[in-house]
Amino acid sequence: MSAGLAFDLVLAGALLWSAWRTLATANLFQGVVQFIVFGLLMTLAWARLAAPDIALAEAAIGAGLTGALLLDALGALRRRQDAP
């Protein structure tokens, strides 16, 4: 088994695992962090598929901006719970 194939298999496994963890966790903060991890792994997957354009967009928008938006939403939810 070549090193590239082994890496791809590990990457595919990690993708499925992080996707499962994102959905299965009851802790919202953990879910958001897992989602960001999933986005970064997805970036690697696009790079492995020889699609660097999509990898760049995924890293910047999928992992970075969406992660920031989700974290901000989480903070707003917590403040709303604390307020009343």
């Binding site: 660097p52 354009d53 910047a60 970075g64 901006l65 920031a68 901000d72 903070g75 403040r79």
Partner: protein, 219 residues
């Protein structure tokens, strides 16, 4: 038992999806070859940029319009009460790091914009990096949340769409929408991409900055 059924059903769906993917017919038109054959007329060297900004420029024009609409929706649904969020200042080290990182991110954005003609990069990636820089500044408390856009910000938000639309309108005389003359295609694409980068950066940052209550820095 229920869990096993769910796993079984999900596994079955995965197998069906993989089987469907493996049976996809070969595309009738060999698009990569078609793009490669006309690449010389597009004004850029990188095929992805050529498709996004030249051969299928119409799609990109609509994309920026959709993003603009999304931000308008955010603004229309705004009016969030100005609650007194926890006024917690970000640590000094974090502020320092942000101050160091943002100029570098701006340079990277300009590089991505310029590199788009030759290699992976382009307006969307550059805009996303610019937006990330603005969000970073906001999260450490150096950039306050935007309450309502003033005139310069409004103009910058729609600049990308307007420039794109103006170029499309100016070229209508040639017969087809967004059909650049090959001699000036490169310059036109760079002009559109530069305007798009600024607008996209502000649009994407606006999605967070218009609704945020102040991030870590608070008010």
């Amino acid at each position: 038992m229920k869990r096993a059924l769910v796993v079984l059903a999900a596994g079955l769906l995965a197998v069906l999806l993989i089987a469907a993917m493996l049976q996809l017919p070969a595309p009738a038109v060999d698009l990569p070859a078609a793009v490669g054959a006309r690449l010389g007329e597009s004004g850029v060297v990188h095929p992805v940029t050529a498709v996004l900004l030249n051969f299928r420029g119409y799609d990109t024009l609509l994309e920026i319009a959709v993003l603009l609409l999304a931000l308008l929706g955010v603004l229309a649904a705004g009016g969030r009460e100005t609650a007194a969020g926890g006024a917690r200042a970000a640590p000094a080290a974090l502020r320092m790091l942000a101050r160091l990182a943002v100029p570098l991110m701006t340079v990277v954005a300009v590089y991505l914009l310029w590199a788009g003609a030759l290699r992976p990069g382009g307006a969307f990636q550059a805009g996303a990096v610019l937006a990330a820089a603005a969000v970073l500044l906001h999260l450490v408390g150096l950039l306050p949340a935007w309450r309502s856009p003033a005139v310069p910000l409004r103009l910058a938000l729609i600049a990308g769409f307007l420039v794109f639309l103006a170029v499309a309108a100016a070229l209508l005389a040639s017969g087809a929408l967004l059909q650049y003359p090959p001699a000036r295609a490169g310059a036109l694409i760079l002009l559109i991409e530069a305007a798009l980068s600024v607008s996209l950066g502000l649009l994407l940052a606006g999605l967070l900055l218009f609704v945020s209550r102040g991030g870590v820095g608070g008010r």
